[in-house]
Structure formats: structure tokens, C-alpha cells
């Protein structure tokens, strides 16, 4: 019944006290929100906790949802804020690497014909990528995660983060370049 309804219709039903409608919203978005949380936090358990907290918080603040933004953007924003809170509480942000202070890797290193998929096994490779993603600054990390793990369009990312599309594109470009460098560093260190 609720599967055919739009997100907005589901929200209206949820506001009328229909728990099944909110359950459908959870079912639709939990995977994406989990991916975002996993990418941001880098830990499965924490990601699951934050995903749950996100939906709980969304349910509690349904009344305040004015419908100006899309439900997906709203949920993503809640999830991002929850992730930041979690990271602050654990002081995980200390692990972040400041791009400005980061010594730029030599062009020679980037030109090394290193092909990560050929060097490491899938799991190890995934672990390396995870660490590399985690080491990205927050504003670059969230763009990469939304694009790569959630298949969001530039427009959707821009709406979620309240940024111009051009900024999203340039951030993604920068993030991919940084990621590539970090991966090569890690692979060469292995």
C-alpha cells in the first residue's frame, strides 16, 4: 500500500500517526543513510547506531519538517549532523588531514603506474580505500561519499549541502585527486 506513495505523501501520513508510512521511509533511505554514515565514520557499528539515531530524530521532528527541502536532503542533513556530533564526541576529527598543510605529493608519485586493484586483494583494497576516504577533510569526504556510495546527482548533493553545483563539482574533483594521492602513498607503503 505505502510502497507506491511518494516521500511527501508518506510524510503526511506519518504526521497523521501512520507508523507504517514512516517505516516505508526508513526502508527507502536506510541503506543510503548507512552508506553516508559508514563513509563518514568508517565503522560499521557506529554507522548503524547513527543511522538509527537519524531516523529516530527525524521521526521526533516530523512536525518541524516544512517540506521546503526534499525528504532525502533533510535526512542526509540530519545524518551528517549526527555524524559530526559523534565524531566530535570521539574526537575523531584529529585524524583528519588538513589539505593546506599536507605536503603536495610529487607529480612523479602520481605518475607511477600503480594499479591498486592489481596489487591488493579486494578486502585489503577496500580497507585501504576506507582509510584514504577517512583521511579526507570533511567537506571533501561528504561529497565523495554522496557521489560514490549513494549515486546522488550533483544537483542533489548541492541541495543537501546548500552549495552551488559548481562548488560541488570542484570539491569532488579535488577530493578525487587527494584520494588518488593518498591511495598511492598507502599502496607504496605496503
Amino acid at each position: 500500500m505505502t510502497a507506491n506513495l511518494t516521500d511527501e505523501q508518506l510524510i503526511r501520513k506519518s504526521l497523521d500517526g501512520d507508523n507504517e508510512a514512516f517505516g516505508e521511509i526508513v526502508k527507502r533511505w536506510e541503506r543510503k543513510i548507512f552508506a553516508l554514515c559508514y563513509g563518514m565514520l568508517g565503522c560499521k557499528e557506529e554507522a548503524l547506531d547513527v543511522t538509527q539515531e537519524t531516523f529516530m530524530l527525524a521521526y521526533r521532528s516530523l512536525q518541524s519538517f516544512r517540506g521546503e527541502a526534499k525528504i532525502s536532503s533533510w535526512l542526509h542533513r540530519i545524518a551528517l549532523n549526527q555524524c559530526l556530533t559523534k565524531m566530535r564526541s570521539k574526537k575523531n576529527s584529529a585524524e583528519e588531514i588538513n589539505i593546506e598543510s599536507e605536503p603536495s605529493l610529487s607529480t612523479a608519485a602520481s605518475k607511477k603506474a600503480v594499479s591498486p586493484p592489481e596489487l591488493v586483494e579486494t578486502k585489503e583494497r577496500a580497507e585501504l580505500v576506507r582509510k584514504a576516504v577517512r583521511s579526507l577533510p570533511l567537506e571533501l569526504r561528504q561529497v565523495v561519499i554522496m557521489k560514490e556510495f549513494e549515486d546522488m546527482t550533483f544537483q542533489q548533493i548541492a541541495e543537501t549541502l546548500n552549495l552551488p553545483v559548481s562548488t560541488v563539482k570542484s570539491r569532488l574533483y579535488l577530493a578525487l585527486k587527494q584520494l588518488k594521492m593518498k591511495l598511492e602513498e598507502k599502496i607504496s607503503a605496503v
Binding site: 507508523n19 538509527q52 521521526y59 591511495l183
Partner: protein, 203 residues
């Protein structure tokens, strides 16, 4: 050493993620620009690595369980608010309840009395009497033309009760009448039957 960057580098991401409108023009640029073509290859390789992490994320996903959150009913909320409140609020609430119950009881009692016709006889009479005393109340037969050729409404005939009420002497009047009755000579003659018989006997 500053890294080389093409002016179209930012468009590269749109091309990789298939969100470019004018693909042909950019592909033409790629054949000419070595920086962009190298970056394109680099990003493609990177995306393969990222897909490994993506698979891991997908495999580790577990559907979350949101506890059923039922919105508490109004009376439950109220009860909770009262039980958690301070004693003064509790007393105020109890007083309010008593007042409400008393008022309700009083009003119900009043209603029942009126239903039995004990309290508002007048109302009942007023409802019925006009029909009995003035059956054409609804018709226009009671309208007459005055000298000024204007329609004037005839004053409704007094109800039987009102008439009876008016005819019925008040207590004071009754007292006065009794006094008159006692003092009146005619009445005195009428009452004194012995005198009457004496008169008849004489006749």
C-alpha cells in the same frame, strides 16, 4: 611545484559521472588535452578502487530496527503530565475535577427536574396555552384595519391561566373580602338561617 590543471578540469567529474550535456565537445577536448586525458584515466582507476569499498559497505549493511513509536493518547499525556507535576498542580487538577463533576451533576439534576415538569411549569403552559386560547394565532384573522389604514396586530388574548390568575384574589384581597363579608349586613342576613326561618314562619 605547482600541479598542472586544465581550465576544463572541473568538467572532468561531470564527464566521469555521466552528467555532462555536451559530451561530444568534451571528448573532442580530451583528444587534444593530455592533462585531462591523464586525469580521466587516473579517476577511472580510482573509481574501481572505490567500488571495492562500496561493495564492502553494501555487504555490511544491516536493516535497522526502529522501535515502534506510538504517539501517546491525549489522556495518557495528561496523566503523565499530572503524575510528574508538583503537588500544587495535582491539587489544582483535583479541585478542577471536583468542580466539573459538581457542575455536571447539578446541571443534570436541573435537566431531569425540568423534564418532569416540576421546575418550569410556566414554560409548558406558555407553550400549550396559546393554541388553546387562541386557535388562530398563526392565521391573520386577528389582524384588523385601523383608521389610519394600517395593519395592527390584535393583542393576544390572555391565557386562561393568566385570566385565572388575575381573577384569583391575592391573599390580601382575600383577607379584605373576608372582612367585608363578615361586616356586610346582607351577607350576615344570608348566613343567619335561623332568622330566615323565623321570617318564613311569620309568613
Amino acid at each position: 611545484m605547482k600541479e598542472q590543471k586544465c581550465v576544463f578540469s572541473d568538467n572532468l567529474v561531470s564527464y566521469i559521472y555521466d552528467e555532462m550535456e555536451n559530451k561530444d565537445a568534451f571528448e573532442a577536448h580530451l583528444t587534444e588535452c593530455q592533462i585531462c586525458s591523464e586525469e580521466l584515466e587516473m579517476f577511472k582507476t580510482l573509481r574501481v578502487s572505490l567500488s571495492a569499498l562500496r561493495e564492502q559497505v553494501d555487504s555490511e549493511f544491516e536493516p535497522i530496527s526502529i522501535p515502534v513509536i506510538e504517539k501517546p493518547a491525549f489522556w495518557k499525556k495528561l496523566l503523565e503530565a499530572i503524575t510528574l507535576s508538583n503537588p500544587l498542580v495535582k491539587i489544582a487538577f483535583a479541585s478542577a475535577l471536583i468542580i466539573i463533576f459538581s457542575l455536571t451533576f447539578y446541571l443534570l439534576t436541573l435537566q431531569r427536574t425540568s423534564d418532569l415538569g416540576l421546575a418550569s411549569n410556566v414554560k409548558v403552559d406558555e407553550k400549550i396555552e396559546p393554541q388553546r386560547s387562541f386557535p388562530f394565532a398563526e392565521s391573520k384573522e386577528h389582524e384588523v384595519f385601523t383608521k389610519e389604514n394600517k395593519t395592527a396586530e390584535v393583542k393576544p388574548i390572555k391565557t386562561e391561566r393568566q385570566t385565572r390568575k388575575k381573577l384569583k384574589p391575592s391573599a390580601r384581597q382575600r383577607q379584605q373580602l373576608n372582612l367585608d363579608f363578615a361586616e356586610s349586613e346582607e351577607v350576615e342576613e344570608g348566613i343567619r338561617l335561623v332568622d330566615l326561618f323565623e321570617k318564613v314562619g311569620e309568613v
